[in-house]
Amino acid sequence: MSSHREAPEVSKDPVVDSSDLYAFVSPDSPDMVTFIANYVPLQNPAGGPNFYEFGDDVLYAINIDTDGDGEADIVYQFTFESELEIPSTFLYNVGPIESLSSANWNRRQFYSVTRVDNSGVHPLGQHLPCPPCNIGPLSTPNYAALAASAINSLPGGTTVFCGQRAEGFYVDLGSIFDLGDLRPIANLHATFGLPGLTATPGVDTLGSINVHSIAIQVPIDSLHSGWWRRDRHERGIIGVWTTASRQQARVFGGWNSEDIWSGPWTQRSRLGNPLFNEVLVPLSKKDYWNKQSPANDSQFAQGVNFPELAQLLPILYPGAFPNLAAFNATNAPRADLAAILLTGIPAGVVSPTYTTYTGPTQADMLRLNLSIPPSSTPSRQGVLGGDLAGFPNGRRVFDDVVTIELQAIAGATLPLVTTYTKDAAIADVSDGLTGSDITYLTSFPYLGTPYSGFNAPAPA
């Protein structure tokens, strides 16, 4: 979760494994929008000597649909290139790395960023440096400043950063994948004849874990499209998803030859809404889903309209979800989830003016209404918490998407579309985490300084 190792193929190919996608109007710069796509998940910070990096043979993309058809109108592409400065050593670094040009730094990575839109291909930056991974106090002293020096300003007001960050997503994986045994309500869980469980606080599986982020901040004006209604101060709604692609053909070299690869880029992973492929797509179709375009997502609507987890909750927690069980028995589709995840929410459902609706095309995209300003009092519960600037209106780094989506599947959003009384247990449907122990940045790139290998896990 939210898309960490969510499908068999990407679980074996971490550099193409898109684990989280964020899109939000920048709180410290409300004329800008920020996109962050995370890859190479579940990094143990001490994992040297070959520390983490992006794939040199992967084409990464942040795709933006501006007209609601589930196809990209604007694409930001990223490619990476690693270089060895000191080929004779086995070490990542041979002394402190105190600047991006340090002679002590052996294994480096650089990247190029390109915007592709209807007017053509526009290179924005080339051979831009990634920061090193956070090794420890001797190798990477003053890491925060070092990483900040890798934030690059590009023409047109665009800012970009690619490199290691602290994992900002929080989830109790151990409980969720133990048959949905949410610790805060474990005492209500079916025991399958085994001894009963006790309710306890959640455990953040991703605490002290790092990830690699592709972060780009662009002027909202640069996402202009034909239906832009500047005269009405309407900035429009965009749909966003990230993809990672590999070239189709590869030949692994023998004892005296190098690997070669060639051919068209073919999509290996994608991510729009958190947890979509993870929870709503059956295991048999997860790899297939990763290769599809959002424009073709009507084929996955069955998993949204009749989510397996909604069927399971009354079974896993006997007696706790009688209203959900009754709704399930009607075989009515989950119009609330279809709106949230596949078309966006029409105006008038949440409030008279709130909408993320992009049209009838069913497409898993992270939708962001650019007219909704950042909240001065944000709620990590997003729209469920009364904060219209949060998920599912885009996604901010601190949004508690696990609880939001678990509660939505449990029926919290059904009253938006039909007469329905929520089960009392919904308030407790959560993995029990608040994200309060995670430090985010208040400015770009927003995700916090990565944990150092020397200090994570914390010494006894």
Binding site: V75, T79, S112, V113, I260
Partner: protein, 68 residues
Amino acid sequence: MTRVTNGAPSKNLPAPSVVGSTKEPSAPIIAHLRNAATGEIAVFSGSEEFILHDPGLAARLVIATEGR
């Protein structure tokens, strides 16, 4: 020979390519004999795929793999 265009990301955008790379493009060519009977051969070069229909070449490739 037919150029395959299924790599395009969208309805009207240029096909994905490593347009920003500072690395000199190495251009190995990889061929995949998809159907020996029809002679269909997929040829991968750069970021493109071309389809050949050459039963004679396909037959020679098959013979080569059989060591004859």
